[in-house]
Subunit: 252 residues, 2 copies
DNA sequence: CAACCGGTGTCATAAAAGTTACACACTTTA
DNA sequence: TAAAGTGTGTAACTTTTATGACACCGGTTG
């Protein structure tokens, strides 16, 4: 299991763990589209561009996913089962947490009044189907370019650590961490999948000179786990007997 | 120092953009278009919408005008005498002062590769001629909505700070702030959500040369809180243990 | 000119938050 | 099953932050 080095334009190199989960700072895009053929085409191509792509097949699912984890950009089809794209857009613009998510609407409705309506209701761009993938990429890139300087953000699975805001979230849930737990997690997130001995963790997450018991690491790992997994979620910290700990995807 | 007292009533009629910053003036738009018929049509209609519209008939003039006064938005025709719109766009994106001006390209070139090229080079949107005025308005509005905070009035939640009047209010309640508290709040409001250490806050809200105890920041934060939250309102200042403070929405 | 007054910085102390050590239970390994 | 390695709860302890009191300073007022 050698670390795979994966490089994306304008991004640093990011190691992938053995489960193929890329730890990138790549923009996350939620594609909301009910036509499987089109959604597959879009997702496939966007993923090939290095984006972290999620898919929602209808309005409800979309709102649900967004409430759990806020994407950097939403591609939103107009015609959708359950809740229409227009309505999804309206609802997103209402809530403070979601109102500034960039939205590109996709629609077969090419009438001028349609695009105007979409933009009026809060969409940032409006693409008329059928559109070429190149056009989509260009629009997506142009939109992401204008994103407010995305603070130093580390991501691992649904774990997001924002170094500027000094906040950690898992699935949108804010995690109350103490300074040491924060440093510990920050270190682990910058080296995902790697196992560290207690000595190494003390070296990295504690003061250089501090002479602390090795066992202390256990306690902090435990507390980190407790906070991290509050909510019956899977344990992201792997214990390696006689070696140490690692931030890692659960086996099963 | 007189207590800061004022009313924002006069500002409230201005539209707020997505950053919560009120536009205290009408957005200025530079139209770069050599076809007199079209440019007149566009200018006339935009002015009727209340925008502060300027016109440039060719690339040189456009760059010249922009260097003299930076507009909020540029409508840029592709085909232009002297310097092409594409080149103007490229040059604008090169200089720090102009690189973040929103640009909507206008062009009769409807090929996919053209729009892609325009967007790649730095345009934020690309409209294919002929387009309806309604579409143009919608695109312009959508673009201006996303302008970063630059106004003289900062807003965060129900907190409003007017830099010109040098006054602050929350929920319509006037806040009597001292000079230091005002500077502190002003700085925090221009960087919402970000955590700053006491050193950074001293650097930003105090005189360069002043050598003041770090703990002094605590006291001023406390005074700021006291004034800000007089009225059983939620605390907008987040304490980050061992790091500093941030202006932030209460999470829970 | 002297008293007053709001704005500041500093200190001492209280309160809160986070860290460490330790005892012991539990689990895995040989 | 013994030995080694881990997990957990607790209590003492340390660090950091909140707060109230007070002295100083410059400007204004009577």
């Amino acid at each position: 299991m050698t670390p795979v080095v994966f490089s994306v334009a304008s991004c640093l190199s990011f190691p992938a763990n053995r489960y193929g989960v890329f730890m990138t700072h790549n923009a996350s895009i939620l594609v909301v589209e009910d036509d499987p053929a089109l959604s597959r085409l879009i997702c496939y191509n966007l993923e090939k561009q290095g984006y972290d792509v999620r898919l929602a097949g209808d309005g409800h699912t979309a709102l649900d996913q967004i409430s759990r984890r806020i994407p950097d950009l939403v591609l939103l089809d107009w015609m959708l089962p359950s809740i229409s794209g227009l309505e999804v857009c309206r609802q997103l613009r209402e809530q403070p947490k979601t109102k500034s998510i960039p939205i590109i609407m996709l629609s077969a409705r090419g009438q001028e009044t349609d695009s105007v309506r979409g933009l009026e209701i809060g969409a940032d761009d409006y693409l008329i189907k059928p559109f070429g993938m190149e056009t989509l990429f260009a629009r997506v890139k142009a939109m992401l370019r204008r994103l407010p300087p995305s603070g130093n953000v580390l991501k691992f699975d649904a774990l997001v650590l924002d170094r500027v805001a000094h906040k950690v979230e898992r699935n949108g849930r804010l995690l109350p961490l103490g300074p040491t737990e924060y440093r510990l997690l920050e270190f682990l997130m910058t080296h995902p999948g790697q196992v560290f001995s207690r000595e190494e963790l003390l070296e990295q997450a504690w003061e250089r000179s501090s002479c602390v018991e090795l066992r202390t690491v256990d306690v902090h790992i435990r507390r980190l786990r407790q906070t991290l997994n509050a909510g019956e979620e899977k344990d992201l910290i792997r214990t390696v007997r006689a070696r140490g700990y690692a931030l890692d995807m659960p086996q099963d």
